[in-house]
Symmetry: C2
DNA sequence: CTGTTAGCGCATTCAG
DNA sequence: CTGAATGCGCTAACAG
């Protein structure tokens, strides 16, 4: 293991030529006899082919760059889990870069990745700008965006509009008439625009007397908590947060104000994080399978690398998870549900 | 950007030799005049030095492997954030491998990383086995473990024993006399043994009439939720979970059973996850700064790579976060705290 | 300060 | 089927 064997030394020890060893390692145009000799020597020495030398010769690197807005988020974690799952079975590996929500750094990371010789780049962006498009077009490695979409790039994501609609329909069906949607900034097209629009469209259509207000918050608990006063001023029967985290912040405020959920005000979100199942009331939500996105994206990348056709997809399946935090307005409020922890 | 410039072509275009270009790119033994010519050509062509060729020549790769038990955990996310923070300012990058909590895969990943020519390996293990030690000793790249420790390896971690003691002292001070500790399996030395022992030691010493029972759970909400019945059978005045997640599962069960926290039973944990601040009652906990561990570990790795001395550290600072979930047994229970969301 | 020369370790023609 | 020879793109002596 120590003095770093090279193919040349293996060849000498096995009494063959370098090329024979190389062939043994790759295609395999080698006689059984010599193959055996080589095999033995390799096993004994623990020889490992030099990664960089190999990559220098070959055109590919078996590395694909992944640029992330941040690392400490469950969604990102699951996404990566999915990506890794398919990559590992194909001998690929992800090279991560974090951009801390900075567009500038994101662009910089993409460039840096390309320079490292990755075979492709996956970008989990929080917003696709014109600069992204230009940069991406100038690159000579395939790229796939995830989480956001844009007509000029390849992408794999959920249908945020449909997710919004699911929630809108549900609140209509449960006969809520006045809800406030706590959303995020529109720079995030998927969450800030599509998801919200889906909700509004479905909730408002053919829903006489229905009304929906809007308040903008950030992605974190605290920001949501802080805008809770304002949502209460609308006196809604239900509030839906653009993410589960927003709901948790809201829930906390309601608890402090002794506003009972869902009796006095319903709450629902998007995301389907595990923790939504364990808080009380358990959060009704539209659940996203982030791991699936990761897998699909990785598969798409493999396709692209092989030079095959790829088609963007913004319709990955969504799951509506009905739990305890939304009241059915028609029914009596007294009969509480059994309140069993339903797992995740 | 397209036909992949090489140093040779740059040299020709600039009217100098390859080595001059190389020097320009590295150390800098170049006249201002020629430097300028080279600079211009590089800028025009968008030339980027070939990563693999460079790594083949040089001894280092500027890549350090990171093997993780899993990706979708906040703690891991923060750890990575910390690692990346120091690496990025030093031109290093992390190459991630996930072992899905399998020891076998973990070993395999370490080997694979070494083969890729990384300059070092950081291992966030959930348990150091004899195999880890042997493998690690046979490697020719430096390794640092994090999260766990062992006399025969380098490590950077919190002092789990001290964390346990903090909590033990606190519960003693708040005059609890009977608590049950919901811990995890002892294969996780840090959490399963040290943290628990610290708690027991501090809680029990010089604490007349005090009693502490133990129950083993897994790391997830559900497992904790499921063992809640058994902890209740002990009729404790407080229960401490080895992790905040365990507490959340417990809290859910207590809520379902209408057991008021902390009035009827106190709950406290370890971890300091953000979500602990937003649930109700907000969770009293010993907080770990995972990002700091990441930074320290990365710095240690850089030290090692430079060939300088490194010393393991298992005493990273801990923070006790007193929130709402533990009752001070001496005091009246009626006077509820203001219950303000204290942020994270 | 600069150009020339030699490999780094490997895969791959090309003759045998 | 196999060995000898070539070069991937780059850095590092080595002489100028």
């Amino acid at each position: 293991m120590e003095p770093k064997m090279t193919i040349k030394e293996i060849a000498e020890l096995a009494g063959v030529s370098k090329s024979t060893v190389s062939r043994y390692l790759n295609q395999g145009y080698v006689s059984a006899e010599k193959a055996e000799q080589v095999r033995r020597v390799i096993e004994e020495t623990g020889y490992q082919t030099n990664f960089f030398a190999k990559r220098l010769k070959m055109k590919y690197s078996k590395l694909v760059g992944i640029v992330l807005p941040r690392m400490d988020s469950v969604a990102v974690g699951k996404l990566l889990t999915g990506i890794h799952r398919v990559f590992r079975t194909n001998g690929y590996q992800g090279l991560l870069m974090v951009s801390n929500l900075s567009i500038e750094k994101e662009l910089e990371n993409i460039l840096s990745l390309q320079q490292q010789g990755v075979d492709g780049i996956i970008i989990d962006s929080v917003g696709i700008t014109q600069q992204h498009i230009e940069l991406q077009a100038s690159l000579d490695v395939p790229t796939i965006f995830t989480g956001q979409r844009h007509p000029q790039v390849r992408y794999i994501k959920f249908d945020d509009y449909a997710a919004g609609r699911m929630m809108g329909s549900y609140l209509k069906e449960t006969q809520h008439k006045h809800v406030v949607f706590v959303g995020v900034n529109e720079s995030d097209t998927a969450v800030g625009i599509e998801r919200k629009k889906g909700f509004m469209d479905a909730f408002l259509e053919n829903n006489e007397g229905a009304k929906a207000d809007f308040i903008e918050a950030g992605f974190d608990f605290f920001s949501a908590y802080n805008c809770a006063v304002r949502v209460l001023q609308f006196q809604p029967t239900a509030v839906v947060g653009a993410t589960d985290n927003i709901c948790l912040g809201l829930l906390r405020y309601f608890h402090e104000q002794k506003i009972r959920v869902p009796e006095e005000c319903s709450v629902a979100g998007f995301g389907g994080y595990d923790v939504g199942a364990v808080v009380y009331p358990a959060l009704t939500t539209v659940s996203f399978d982030y791991e699936l996105v990761g897998m699909k994206t990785a598969q798409g990348m493999l396709t692209l690398i092989r030079g095959e056709a790829f088609s963007s997809d913004a319709s990955l399946p969504l799951f509506f998870v009905e739990r305890e935090s939304v009241r059915r307005m028609g029914e009596a409020v007294a009969q509480k549900k059994p309140a069993k922890f339903i797992g995740m």
